[in-house]
């Protein structure tokens, strides 16, 4: 979906992005992870040409972005940022309908789409359509911001620390909603964050960045289990790594198929971390597992968690 090919960006004499190459397959949830100032936002903004690259090529859906008229390119790509940037003088409806309006969708279709998106983000359309941004909580504003980015059903979604400014509980909800939407709509997402936990939770692939280059590209488990360098292992953190691993692995990875246990069953998609807390809470070392249809498929055992 996105091919970033040997791209460089200078500010003055400083190379902020340094011959970076990265391929993001369609439907991927790719997280650019790194400490502040390592060039994540710059890389992201070069994809929708908010920042012009000095060298190299970026292709979106096979097309060199330099050859597409810039406004047309951006209308095809959703964009959500930490500071949200809702238009304060427009209602929620008008804000979300921004790109559909730019694309000259008929009014009826715009209203339908806005209603659909509000429902998807669990915002009651009757209540929220006519509200102004200042009447919303921080979490609601961010939902509207993401809904606005998704409004014209873009093939690609760029998100720059979108949940960086909301409180931890709301961030948790927003992350869960984003995951649900990603699974349901199969969008390609490039997501910038400096928060390792957030990256582990959301990503199918993580690109760890260091001084304008990619230090490692891999799945969350790869990054945790096989850090490619001292830098990566320092960044993902030796401390608490066990818990981080538990939170990215699923019960399905460790389940004893066919065995049984007593109690309320868990889903195979549950993280090992959640399984551990369920065992602690219920004072047991063994819990049953059943699939989405409710059929018992096996059991998860405490000893296997730390295997």
């Amino acid at each position: 979906m996105i091919e970033i090919d040997d791209v460089t960006k200078h500010y003055g004499d400083r190379r902020v992005v340094d011959r970076l190459s990265l391929t993001v397959p369609a439907g991927d949830f790719c997280v650019l992870l790194g400490s502040s100032g390592c060039g994540k936002s710059t890389t992201l903004k070069m994809i929708n040409r908010l920042i012009a690259a000095d060298g190299g090529q970026i292709r979106v859906a096979g097309e060199d972005i330099a050859t597409v008229p810039v406004e047309q390119l951006r209308r095809r790509i959703g964009y959500a940022i930490q500071s949200i940037g809702l238009f304060p003088h427009w209602t929620v409806e008008d804000n979300i309908a921004t790109v559909p309006r730019l694309l000259k969708w008929p009014r009826v279709r715009r209203v339908e789409r806005v209603t659909e998106l509000l429902e998807m983000f669990r915002l009651e359309p009757g209540t929220y359509l006519g509200k102004y941004p200042h009447q919303l909580s921080g979490g609601e504003q961010q939902r509207v911001g993401v809904a606005r980015a998704l409004a014209a059903d873009p093939e690609l979604l760029l998100m720059d620390e979108p949940f960086g400014a909301v409180d931890p509980l709301t961030r948790d909800d927003l992350q869960a909603e984003l995951l649900r939407i990603h699974r349901a709509m199969k969008k390609t997402i490039v997501f910038v964050t400096h928060d390792i936990e957030e990256a582990l939770r959301l990503a199918t692939h993580i690109a760890v960045m260091q001084e304008g280059r990619i230090a490692q590209l891999g799945s969350p488990i790869d990054i945790l289990e096989h850090p490619a360098s001292e830098f990566v292992s320092d960044f993902v953190g030796r401390q608490g790594i066990g818990l981080k691993l538990l939170s990215v692995r699923k019960i399905a990875d460790r389940m004893r198929a066919g065995e049984t246990a007593e109690g309320e069953p868990l889903s195979p998609e549950t993280s090992l971390r959640d399984a551990l807390s369920a065992m602690t809470a219920r004072r047991t070392d063994r819990l049953p597992v059943s699939d989405a249809m409710g059929r018992k498929v096996g059991a998860i055992v405490l000893a296997d968690l730390v295997r």
Binding site: L50, R74, Y79, S83, I84, G85, L86, T98, V99, L102
Partner: protein, 403 residues
């Protein structure tokens, strides 16, 4: 008897502070009463040349509206003591507005009564008690509206009500015996011309300043490098005293007309309307440029980034986001400039530009206070009216900018 006096002070203070629920209104009532007690409501002079004799309000008790003043004053005093709520604020607004109209009527009637037993040459002018009472009543209306959180519509209705009440009284001859009205009657035709000329001066200069200053402000907002040189020049212009600036323009413009005599046919010259408008435009530039650039740079940069990121063109971002968000600040600048121009245009009469200043300077020369007022009062009302209308316009425009 030992500790009684030491308790009396605090106790009285306590009673006062508990009893008075609306301090602002209380102060206005006290000031109004003091003015009525201490000074004349109107001044009566046998002719234009000698100074007058103050006539207190109670001496004019024969005039019908005077008891009305006492009743409304008592009602407003009582209102200071009642626990405030919306109904009370409404009542205060209505009473104070009524008081303002009744004070005006009382002045007219009093003058009418005095004129019956006086020579035709006698002049009855408005005294300090009138001005203070009218001002207190107007402030009380404003304060009550503010406490009510009155919207633009309610304010409009109040102002329209007061203005039509005043005009109705004026049309029915209530004020005819007052020297100000006599002065107006003498200068009626000249007054209409002066008013038109004044508004032309203001309109042309504010329009000109907007036409030049708005693009300049946008340019500064987009290119911060321009900021220092542009503001340096505009700041210098702003510090030149108005009379000096009017005077300074005489020389170059006279020279220009001497060099290109054809220009004189278009009314351009060293004195008159042209230099006045140029000077007013120069004064108005700084506020217009500053409010434009501050308005544009002050808006949330995230909104602009989001707009760009979603594929709005620079033109769309400017029209749909930057401009509407900057508009309140921009219009605040225009309001300041308009009010300022209305005042400065008075001075422009000195270089023969006409306008309401004509009366002011003529009155000053003849030591005729009423003639000065004939110029100054309309200028004040013009400024208040323009300020109010521009506030409404800002509110309306703001709403209309939704997509």
């Amino acid at each position: 008897m030992t500790d009684q006096p030491s308790l009396a002070g605090p106790r009285a203070a306590l009673l006062l502070s508990v009893g008075i629920r609306n301090q602002v209104l209380f102060v206005l009532v006290v000031v109004g009463v003091a003015a009525v007690v201490l000074s004349g409501f109107v001044d009566e002079a046998p002719n234009r040349l000698v100074s007058g004799r103050p006539v207190p309000l109670w001496a004019a008790a024969g005039a019908l509206p005077v008891p009305g003043i006492a009743v409304l004053g008592a009602a407003l005093s009582a209102a200071c003591l009642i626990r405030p709520n919306r109904t009370l604020h409404c009542a205060v607004a209505v009473f104070a507005a009524a008081l303002l109209l009744v004070v005006l009527a009382a002045a007219g009637h009093t003058a009418g009564l005095l004129a019956q037993n006086a020579s035709p040459a006698s002049r009855i002018s408005l005294g300090p008690a009138f001005w203070v009472l009218a001002a207190c009543a107007a402030l009380a209306v404003g304060d009550a509206l503010q406490r009510l959180g009155a919207g633009i519509i309610a304010q409009l209705v109040t102002v329209a009500g007061l203005a039509s009440g005043m005009l109705l009284m004026a049309a029915s001859g209530t004020f005819d015996a007052l020297s100000l009205a006599k002065e107006y009657a003498i200068h009626r035709q000249v007054f209409a011309d002066a008013m038109t000329r004044h508004m032309t001066l203001v309109g042309a200069s504010v329009g000109g300043a907007a036409a030049i200053g708005f693009p300049l402000g946008v340019a500064i907002a987009k290119r911060p490098k321009l900021q220092n040189p542009v503001f340096a020049v505009l700041n210098i212009l702003q510090t030149i005293p108005s009379i000096a600036l009017f005077g300074l323009l005489i020389v170059p413009l006279s020279a220009l007309v001497a060099a290109v005599p054809r220009l004189a046919a278009y009314g351009i010259g060293g004195i008159g309307v042209t230099p006045a408008i140029i000077a007013l435009v120069l004064y108005a530039l700084l506020p217009v440029v500053r409010s434009t650039s501050v308005g544009l740079t002050g808006i949330d940069s995230a909104a602009v980034e989001a707009g760009r990121g979603m594929g709005m063109t620079p033109g769309q971002i400017f029209r749909e986001i930057e401009l509407p968000l900057a508009l309140p600040v921009l219009f605040t600048g225009l309001r300041i400039v308009t009010v300022q121009a209305i005042g400065l245009a008075v001075v422009a009469a000195l270089i023969g530009a006409g306008g309401l200043g004509t009366f002011v300077f003529e009155g000053l020369g003849q030591y005729a206070v009423d003639l000065v007022l004939l110029g100054a009062l309309p200028a004040i009302f013009l400024a208040l009216g323009a300020d109010f209308m521009l506030q409404i316009l800002t509110a309306v425009l703001r709403r209309r900018f939704a997509p």
